[in-house]
């Protein structure tokens, strides 16, 4: 193990990690909003949009992120939409994550059940009020485990960002290997930095899950 190589390149990895985290979390945030929007469209059975959501979910879930990124990065400029690499990374992650988030929310909403909805309606709450105060808070708690799993999955997916020349962790590792052939050290650093990002998220996730389970409303 070439420790000097490692120590001189840590700043490079740190910078790349910051970029990965930045784009990762931005993409996940948009994915959550997109997923929520999709689920509300499906739940409210909004005619045309509902179809569009179904198509989007199949498209997003059944194509690799790499291909989605290529489409956004190389395809969009062809029809006159300019994207820089970072925006492209955020968009790609959001496109992939939106469907996973939508599915997580959907199973949560389904688990809340029709009786709760009817109970809210019978009190004279409007549809929107029912969604906001009765359905969503319960659905969020129920879908928390799936939600956490999605966040981790999406953070790991960021490793394909290098394909659109984003200088993320993967890009940095590949770059260093290409330049110096220090494969072991470069990969070790890569693993360590991914763990540094993902372990805290995992830990936070399981705390969140446990809290929600204890608050566990059940009956």
């Amino acid at each position: 193990m070439d420790w000097e190589f490692i120590s001189t390149n840590i700043p490079l990895y740190r910078e790349a990690a910051v970029l990965t985290v930045k784009i990762g979390f931005a993409g996940i945030l948009v994915a959550i909003l997109l997923g929520l929007l999709c689920e509300i469209i499906v739940y409210c059975r909004i005619p045309v949009l509902r179809r569009a959501v179904a198509v989007y979910i199949e498209l997003s879930r059944n194509t690799p992120l790499l291909i989605q990124l290529f489409f956004i990065y190389y395809g969009l400029p062809k029809i006159g939409i300019r994207t820089d690499a970072q925006a492209c990374g955020v968009a790609g992650l959001a496109f992939l994550g939106g469907s996973y988030m939508a599915e997580a929310f959907r199973s949560g909403v389904e688990a809340v059940g029709a009786a709760q909805e009817e109970s809210a309606y019978s009190l004279g709450l409007s549809r929107m009020q029912t969604i906001r105060y009765v359905i969503l808070p319960q659905a969020f708690a129920i879908s928390a485990p799936a939600f956490v799993a999605n966040v981790i999955f999406l953070l790991k997916e960021t490793s394909v960002f290098s394909a659109v020349s984003l200088m993320d962790l993967m890009f940095t590792a590949k770059d260093l290997i290409g330049l110096y052939y220090n494969t072991t050290e470069s990969l070790a650093l890569l693993v360590v930095f991914y763990l540094l990002i993902l372990l805290p998220v995992s830990l936070l996730g399981s705390v969140l899950e446990r809290r929600l389970r204890y608050a566990g409303f059940g009956t």
């Binding site: 709760q116 109970s119 809210a120 009190l123 004279g124 709450l125 566990g216 409303f217 059940g218």
Partner: protein
């Protein structure tokens, strides 16, 4: 023949027809509920009692006829349906409290959000009502921390706090352990004594007899017989009603003298 008093009409169901596909559940049913009246609906399982109550506040769509509350039609899909539902209190067999909210928040949600009333005023009323049903210490508990009877009393308070014109009860003691049935029935009896207008579906015949101004016997989605509690329970006219009431009494034949 008992005479039914004639104050103002609160709820009017006329020629209601409800079917699930080919299966007709309510057929040409008409019923009027007047101010301050307690009408008890009884009938065998599957005769359409729950469906009738659910049609009244348009949780179910109907296939004919109409329901009017103070003259206003209750229509599924109509724009003012939430407002009309605010005037129809409903209590379910399985309570259907919101599990993520405390007792107090359960009660305050609709008055504050749907009726736009002031929080402080609603809170005060909610606490007074909770006290009235013996739950003043449970205001900040979550539903999962309550017994079945306490949950159901909370659900009743939640409906009451909306100041409904009529209350619908659908077998509200059916899911309860026997020792909790009474505490809930007493709350409903108290409401009857306060002159609340109510439509009560129940399998508790003693209770039905005690609380009813008028008994409606439903069979196969139609009103088979109706009358005062005395008429219905002591002198049922139809064979079906007699047969139904017989299912609640147990008799033991006199023992045969032993023959050697």
């Amino acid at each position: 023949m008992g005479v039914r008093p004639v104050p103002g009409i609160v709820l009017e169901i006329s020629h209601l027809h409800k079917a699930y596909g080919q299966n007709t559940v309510i057929e040409d049913l008409s019923l009027t509920v007047r101010e301050g009246e307690v009408i008890v609906i009884v009938g065998p399982s599957g005769c359409g009692k729950s469906t009738l109550l659910r049609c009244i506040n348009a949780l179910e769509s109907n296939q004919g006829g109409e329901v009017r509350l103070h003259g206003e039609p209750v229509l599924k899909g109509s724009k003012n349906l939430p407002e009309i539902r605010q005037k129809i209190g409903m209590v379910f067999q399985n309570y259907e409290l919101f599990p993520h909210m405390t007792v107090l928040d359960n009660i305050m949600l609709a008055p504050v959000k749907a009726q736009g009333r002031k929080k402080s005023e609603v809170r005060e009323e909610a606490l007074a009502l909770l006290k009235r049903v013996g739950l003043e210490t449970k205001a900040n508990s979550f539903p999962r921390q309550l017994s079945g009877g306490q949950k159901q009393r909370t659900a009743i308070v939640r409906a009451l706090c909306m100041h409904p014109d009529i209350l619908l009860f659908d077998e509200v003691t059916a899911a309860l352990d026997p020792e909790m049935v009474r505490e809930v029935l007493e709350v409903i009896l108290d409401l009857a004594n306060q002159g609340k207008t109510m439509l009560v579906v129940t399998h508790e015949m003693q209770f039905a007899r005690a609380i009813a101004d008028w008994v409606v016997f439903l069979d196969d989605g139609r009103i088979c017989e109706e009358g005062t509690p005395e008429e219905f329970f002591d002198h049922p006219k139809t064979e079906r009603a007699k047969k139904f009431l017989n299912t609640f009494t147990f008799e033991r034949k006199a023992r045969q003298p032993k023959t050697i």
